[in-house]
Subunit: 344 residues, 2 copies
Amino acid sequence: MPTGADAARPTMRDVAALAGVALKTVSRVMNGVPSVDPVLAARVRAAAAELAYRPNLAANLRSGRTNTVGLLLEDIGNPFSAATLRAIEDELEAAGILLLAASLDEQPSREEELTRRLIDRRVDGLIVVPASRDQRYLVAEQLRGTCVVFLDRLPQPLVADAVVSDNRVGARRGVEHLVRHGRRRIAYLGDDPAIPTAAERFRGYVDALAGQGLPVDPALVRHGLRSVQEAHRAAADLLAGPDGVGVDALFTSQNLVTIGAVGALHAAGRHREVAQVGFDDIPFAEALEPGVTVVAQDTRMLGRTAAERLLARIHGDRSAPQVFSVPSRLLVRGSGELPVSTTP
Amino acid sequence: MPTGADAARPTMRDVAALAGVALKTVSRVMNGVPSVDPVLAARVRAAAAELAYRPNLAANLRSGRTNTVGLLLEDIGNPFSAATLRAIEDELEAAGILLLAASLDEQPSREEELTRRLIDRRVDGLIVVPASRDQRYLVAEQLRGTCVVFLDRLPQPLVADAVVSDNRVGARRGVEHLVRHGRRRIAYLGDDPAIPTAAERFRGYVDALAGQGLPVDPALVRHGLRSVQEAHRAAADLLAGPDGVGVDALFTSQNLVTIGAVGALHAAGRHREVAQVGFDDIPFAEALEPGVTVVAQDTRMLGRTAAERLLARIHGDRSAPQVFSVPSRLLVRGSGELPVSTTP
DNA sequence: CTGAAAGCGCTTACAG
DNA sequence: CTGAAAGCGCTTACAG
């Protein structure tokens, strides 16, 4: 006799036997095929209820579809990733698709590894925020019909759909906003420029300064900030710099960097004097004093667009791949519009 | 000729044919069975490489396992859910398990619906932050061996493993902290008390006041706050109350409520006068002025414990279900320790 | 309208 | 060490 508490899970075959019909009839009833004799259908339903039968969705090897989409994000625990995940979830919900999600933590090897694992599970498609700079490993899979949409960053030599924010234009707008409010010594604090979005935002910073006839002072540029702590230290360092450096504003090009810099400004007591505009919205930006002005990415739109695109591909759209640019928005909250002090 | 770009996905059968061996031999090689003749194994590997063969992990109907765990959270976009998801992901990573995650948005019907969908996909187990107050629909599934661990809230009439924070004790500690710093008119702002964790935290608030011989004034209690906006309004309302009410501190029992109340305190300019302690940590709590003192849930530990428990169950642990209480921690940052003004 | 057969891509169980 | 058979739980394709 069985030792476990496991009652066997009934199959269609068991339901068929109990109802006294063929397995195929059970299949028809479960799938709502209308042409089944109502009497038989009722018997099948009764039998299914009695056995508490549940179909095994994983057993449908022939359809080729799993109603699952794989989602590879930077870090599910980070607010930007979480918001994006949520937007994608909502969009795929209606299609009855569930999300298999994982974090890459900016590790290129994890990207390929997890992509393979997801494909081996035969997800219907993938949405990937790439961590590596080369997605060629996907070419063969694309030819086999695996649908992939890239999010937040462009795939590198690969041709595929991608949904990205207008990083360069948005960054430019943020920096121009600072200039318009009288700032001239605007520092740039950002992530590793090897990350394409970081590079684009830096270009936007340079564009803005160039457009206003302002020099790009290397002493005011800090790349490679990978955490709140590093950003805090870099900002503190800039603020403590020799008088000649005279930073009067910070442009922080990513959410963690913005958070670190806000902390440094407050710690130094200069948050009402040195202006700041960040790229990426941050939680709580409005509750701070001053509120943190940011160029916000439209995470809902990014997620929705990527999900829509992927669904279209899954449903057979074979049109040429496109890049979709989602506009960012400047959210004015105070830190970018501080009055310029007129001390000698 | 085929119209699509879809190159057929090769199967073990194709590899076997190309290598001139039986399908079973390919299976052995792919699974690393050591007893295969090295010459044959090499031939199989060459054939697999030539065809770019990838095993179909979804095809293993006989194992009964899918190496997938279902995760039902309140809202994946909310920082608490996201942090928990991340902790669970990290813990299951090593076991080669991927997460199928979805948000319930506190809708009881979604809980049962999504639970069924996940079970129909034969996930190896489920981690659920329940939205409903009755999990009896799971009894039959438990008997069939579906492993379920509840997180953050206890399952209701059901007996199952659960991992929860020490809500009542933690809330009590937070309120006692306010009393110890001279506060006497401490308001409670919280979520719907129908949510068990909210109810527990309210009990902790009552415990603390009772333990200090302080009355619970209904005029200072606001239940049912479901968003940042509602919390902001409720806090603003309390702060604007008649002088007799004289709130001197806020205990906010959930992250969104804390965020809303912080906003209201700042908006009213009373953030240096009215003390606050929140339950749940919030992003950026340290960057605010004053820093927000909170009773923080240990999301990493909550997630890890739930994942460990589930893995043990999946691996056959049949011991009696337990409730695991994860200690919360008081993080002192300023808002709870404001000096009491000595104005007449 | 109903059902027996073959098949999805693998594995388990069993011969050679 | 290797392989032909049967099976996992369903569906597709085809007869009746």
